[in-house]
């Protein structure tokens, strides 16, 4: 009775390998292709974002919002465009992946889909700059709020860059 969860785990792993063996054929593709253009653009955009955070460190005042508005627009546009580029890559389709997705769903996990972690991260970064722009225009941004905006952008950037770089295999 106690051994049941352990056996279930072993069986899932066995099923997973069997699926690869039976349906995989020779080589399999389980993740999207590496895209040098995305990596270059994210490097350039993250550089711009970090320079902007350095300029406004310590907080902002709504009276000077006009000076920063064009930079917000560039940043929002850059990360929304990165989201589209990342999402535009086709999800690898093969019988092995279908079988893996069936197994993941049977175990209550999300299937591997076109919702790449980098695309999600780019979307969240764009949303963060939109919220930052709105707050800056309305009331200005206080120091700790600014640090929180920066922290949020950095965490999502790390997720996107790590995933995209890892696709180079």
């Amino acid at each position: 009775m106690i051994a049941l969860p352990y056996l279930n785990k072993k069986l899932l792993a066995l099923n997973f390998l069997l699926a690869l063996f039976l349906f995989g054929g020779c080589e399999v593709t389980l993740a999207p292709a590496y895209d040098q253009a995305i990596v270059e653009k994210v490097t350039e955009s993250s550089d711009l974002a970090m320079r902007f955070f350095a300029e406004v460190a310590g907080g902002t005042s709504s009276e000077t919002f006009g000076v920063r508005e064009p930079i917000y627009n560039v940043l929002i546009g850059a990360f929304e465009s990165l989201k589209l580029q990342a999402k535009a890559r086709p999800v690898p389709e093969n019988v092995a992946l279908e079988k893996i997705n069936e197994l993941l769903q049977a175990k209550g996990s999300n299937a591997i889909s076109g919702e790449y972690p980098s695309a999600f991260a780019f979307e969240k970064i764009a949303e963060t700059f939109k919220k930052m722009k709105h707050t800056d225009r309305e009331n200005g941004i206080k120091p700790l709020a600014l640090q929180a905006f920066k922290g949020q952008v950095e965490i999502f950037l790390d997720q996107a860059i790590t995933y995209e770089s890892f696709l180079k295999r």
């Binding site: 389980l30 993740a31 969240k124 999502f156 995933y163």
Partner: protein, 104 residues
Amino acid sequence: MANDVTTIIAGIKDIASGILEKDISTVRGFSERQLEAIAKQTVIIQKGIANGDIDEDLREFFLDGLEAMALNFINTLKGILMVTLEKLWNALVNFLYKAVGVVV
């Protein structure tokens, strides 16, 4: 025959450990960075709420952000795992096919 089996097992082990060691070190570095950054972010939000720098509206925004970044941290690990699995599988298949004399 026994020598062939030993050679094949050694080859498989080399391939698997070569790929896994490199990828696990990347995953470990990423996980440590993320956990530390998420912990720091939580403290910044706490302090910001306490001193009034973060108002009610921003509080909700940053709390949603924390949830989204934790979820995407897991999804990034899942994505990385799929790449590792793919590399491992393809390297092993190539090695085994070569061992039986099939050109892939």
